[in-house]
């Protein structure tokens, strides 16, 4: 019998240690006995105290979070993604698991039978050493490339958790970059600078046959070139700092930081034996140490802008979540949190688009704008939810139209796919730029909106409400502005449209029932839960959108900012609008905290778990919702017959 599937599994495994150390035929034999396991998001594979499974696991797709209970609180010990191995305990001891393994996202695992694997690992010393070392070590830093592929032990300090003062952090091995930007000593200063700006790095290592000779940093350019001391055609060796401070591998972060302080440097070169006489294996920068610390927005921002793979972005995204958790724990004002998270999301989207354009054989045939819709458009997307986006391209001659669209559809397909990989689920309504319906030229978009606004049915209003909250993510802002102007010209004094939109806004009534109890979901999978999105956030968002459209205000898409603007525009309703602005912040924060706790969208809330205080806070928000709905009802003459 041929073994197409087993070979395919072996093909995957061979890229990761310890499987890369196995003989081809042995690996195929193992692959034949693999089980491919699917885990839904949030599913527990094994729990602390469970009897060891007969298999250990390799992540094929998705991510597994290893956690431990610490006085009733779940602590993340580590996160495993593609190619990482976990659940090794039964391989070594007949003991029960000491940790929980939970699917952080939808995950596919390859389960390796211990019975088949053990004889091989015992025969192969290298494999065995790798497993033992990794199992016993408590030093894996899953975010640094240098340690990629090392295994994790199940008893590990919680170094990757967000803690404002993480003492253990300094004892972690310093993250080493293996892709070092290097140049020979006779390179001109100009060429070296070009290389650095192309690679977006702040330093370049000067090497001769891979032996480090010197290092040049941004600072040297400022001090020695920009001052006129050296011309740009001078060889780089004239301005390099030499000798280079070198160390062997395995430096801890504390050692690295001390060394940098002592020598007033930002980079340490890692060589084979730790002297400047052997070959370079990597470089360690202050920046990378800061990145691995992971709770500094400006560092994350730089990391996003420099990222060179989708996987890297995915890891950065994970850190953004840690950052968010830290912000919420520290009770930082939500406005501030939203802004930072929005900027980081925005930078991620920009970076992906930038990289996808480069991947295409030709540059874009004309100007275009990538717009984000829905919550990202409103700058309210704290948790990763669905991606909603669209693309506007410049008007082109009729005969070029389809060709141009084909280009942008291809671009959008790439961008949508990568956004999905880093964690933004595809929009279930297919409201994405890769959908030919939402990848249109400016004129086509104008026609589209004209149709929606002139004859507004339910679907049209839904589309309008999604598309009115757009934010430009990439490209030419004139295109989206021109579209916004068009929308305003159509809606100005359009009482019919406002009335229909008002009716939709009121479709989700105030979430408090007659007896001031919460209205719960009555059926479906979330029966008896409170839907904070449908009953709290959406009515406010809808109200804000309608009122701001009525005032023809452009470029404010955030709900609380919209209400703050409305408070300025209508002093007589100032109090109500400020209360609405406040309510929208509270509800969003509520949802975000719930989402983080339960690893979901945070949309459905179990009221039983709320404190009295939280309930009162929610009820106060709902009062504002009811009042603003009343106002809309009178202002836009919404009758129940529409």
């Amino acid at each position: 019998m041929k073994n197409t599937i087993a070979s395919r599994i072996a093909d995957f495994l061979k890229n990761y240690p310890p499987f890369n150390l196995l003989k081809k035929e042995d690996l195929l034999e193992i692959a034949k006995h693999v089980k491919v396991k699917y885990l839904e998001k949030g599913k527990m594979l094994f729990a602390e105290g469970d009897i060891g499974h007969k298999r250990f696991y390799v992540v094929n797709k998705g991510a597994i979070s290893l956690e431990r209970d610490n006085n009733g609180k779940r602590e993340t010990i580590d996160k495993c993604d593609e190619g990482d191995i976990f659940g090794l305990r039964p391989l070594f001891a007949k003991e029960n698991y000491l940790i929980n393994a939970i699917a952080e996202e939808e995950t596919i695992l390859y389960a390796i039978p211990i019975k088949k694997f053990k004889p091989l690992s015992e025969k192969n010393k290298e494999v065995n050493n790798f497993l033992i070392q990794s199992f016993a070590s408590n030093t894996r830093n899953p975010y640094s490339e240098a340690h990629k592929g090392k295994l994790i032990s199940e008893k590990e300090p919680a170094e990757n958790q967000y803690k404002p003062n993480n003492n253990l952090f300094e004892l972690q091995p310093a993250p080493v970059t293996k892709k070092v930007v290097m140049t020979p000593p006779d390179t001109t200063i100009k060429a070296a600078a070009q290389l650095m700006s192309k690679k977006k790095v702040g330093s370049v290592l000067v090497v001769e046959k891979n032996i480090p000779k010197g290092i040049v940093t941004d600072e040297d350019f400022r001090d020695m070139v920009a001052t006129g001391t050296f011309g740009i055609e001078t060889p780089i060796s004239k301005i390099m700092a030499s000798p280079v401070i070198c160390y062997p591998q395995g430096l801890t972060i504390a050692q690295a930081q001390l060394t940098m302080m002592k020598h007033h440097i930002n980079h340490i070169c890692i060589t084979e034996d730790g002297t400047p006489n052997t070959k370079v294996v990597g470089i360690l920068s202050e920046h990378d140490i800061m990145v691995s610390e992971g709770h500094n927005p400006s560092v994350l921002m730089k990391a996003i802008q420099r990222s060179s793979s989708t996987n890297e972005l995915k890891k950065i995204r994970h850190k953004i979540t840690l950052l968010l958790r830290g912000f919420l724990a520290a009770n930082i004002p939500l406005n501030h949190i939203s802004k930072i998270i929005f900027e980081l999301n925005d930078a991620t989207i920009k970076r992906i688009i930038e990289r996808c354009i480069k991947k295409l054989p030709t540059p874009p045939p004309c100007d275009f704008t990538w717009i984000s819709l829905g919550s990202q458009g409103r700058k309210e997307q704290l948790l990763q939810t669905d991606q909603d986006n669209a693309l506007i391209f410049e008007d082109v001659p009729e005969e070029k139209l389809e060709e141009t669209r084909a280009y942008f559809l291809e671009l959008a397909r790439k961008v949508n796919k990568r956004l999905n990989i880093i964690g933004y689920e595809f929009c279930p309504a297919e409201m994405m730029a890769k959908n030919p319906k939402y990848c249109l030229s400016l004129n086509e978009w104008k026609d589209q909106f004209t149709n929606w606004i002139i004859d507004p049915g339910n679907d049209e209003i839904l589309l309008c409400s999604i598309f009115f909250d757009f934010d430009i993510s990439y490209g030419n802002v004139n295109l989206s502005n021109s579209l916004a102007d068009h929308i305003f010209s159509l809606t100005k004094d359009n009482r019919k449209f406002y009335a229909v939109m008002g009716a939709t806004t009121l479709r989700n009534p105030s979430p408090l029932g007659f007896f001031r109890q919460f209205l719960l979901e009555e059926d479906g999978e979330n029966k008896d839960f409170f839907d904070i999105k449908k009953r709290g956030i959406t009515p406010l968002t809808d109200a804000g959108r309608l009122l701001i459209l009525y005032h023809q205000v452009k470029n404010i898409s955030n709900t609380s900012e919209r209400f703050e603007k409305l408070a300025q525009l209508e002093p007589n309703n100032k109090e109500l609008f400020l209360a609405c602005a406040y309510a929208s912040k509270v509800l969003l924060k509520f949802r975000t905290q719930h989402g983080l706790e339960n690893r979901n969208s945070g949309r459905f809330i179990d009221l039983e778990n709320l404190s009295k205080e939280e309930k009162i806070k929610l009820k106060r928000c709902f009062k504002s919702i009811r009042q603003v709905q009343e106002l809309i009802k009178y202002r836009f003459e919404v009758t129940p017959y529409i």
Partner: protein, 220 residues
């Protein structure tokens, strides 16, 4: 004329009787206890009557995992040769892959599937191909329950006027949505594996309330 309706099984071969006997056992109610066989056939073309199977590939799923050891991959020797399909399938006649006769392959397949629930992408076609082969051997049609991943996938799409739910989704489209690696596409076993991963993912999406059972799955 009466003969047509009263095809008595006394003269049917033993392997068929063995296969049939397995259906006396009732299927479990729970999805986790059910054995699903996800399969795909590679054929010389798309005409169920004229064309022939080149290979059958399958994997078995139980308790949300694919057991690679419980797989099926057989190639069928051809009497009629259609050069057009060589390019697509990479299965060249008389290549050094061990082949079975159609009868041997069908026999092995029946033994492998038993009373499991069959799953395929555009299942009607693959089931039709197997049934035609059975009929050439003078045997009745497959008795297994069948699920089609095209339908199941459709069931995961939201109900909205904004999308066309009647659309027939290709395996490539589903693989793109779920980000499934499409190596070995257009080999029976490779496609069966991709379909199996898609099937597991779809089950996850359909079972968000944890209450999905086999009965409900057939109603999607």
């Amino acid at each position: 004329m009466l003969n047509l309706f009263k095809k008595k099984p006394d003269n049917l071969p033993e392997f068929w009787n063995d296969y049939e006997a397995k259906f006396q056992e009732k299927l479990p109610e729970e999805i986790t206890h059910t054995r699903f066989v996800v399969f795909d056939t590679e054929t010389t073309g798309f005409d169920i009557k004229k064309d022939r199977m080149l290979s059958i590939g399958a994997v078995a799923i139980k308790n949300k995992s694919i057991n690679i050891a419980d797989g099926f991959e057989e190639y069928i020797s051809q009497e009629t040769f259609n050069p057009k399909t060589v390019k697509i399938h990479g299965i060249i006649q008389n290549e050094r892959i061990e082949t079975l006769t159609e009868e041997e392959a069908v026999k092995a397949f029946l033994n492998y599937i038993g009373n499991s629930v069959l799953v395929a992408h555009h299942a009607g076609f693959d089931i039709g191909m197997v049934n035609e082969a059975l009929s050439r051997l003078g045997l009745p049609k497959l008795k297994n329950k069948v699920l089609d991943t095209v339908n199941l996938y459709r069931g995961t799409r939201i109900i909205s006027n904004l999308i066309n739910r009647e659309k027939s989704y290709t395996l490539d489209e589903i693989a793109e949505t779920y980000n499934i690696d499409i190596k070995d596409r257009h080999t029976a076993a490779g496609d069966a594996f991709i379909t199996a991963i898609a099937f597991l993912t779809i089950l996850g999406k359909l079972n968000t309330d944890g209450k999905m059972n086999l009965k409900k799955l057939f109603r999607v």
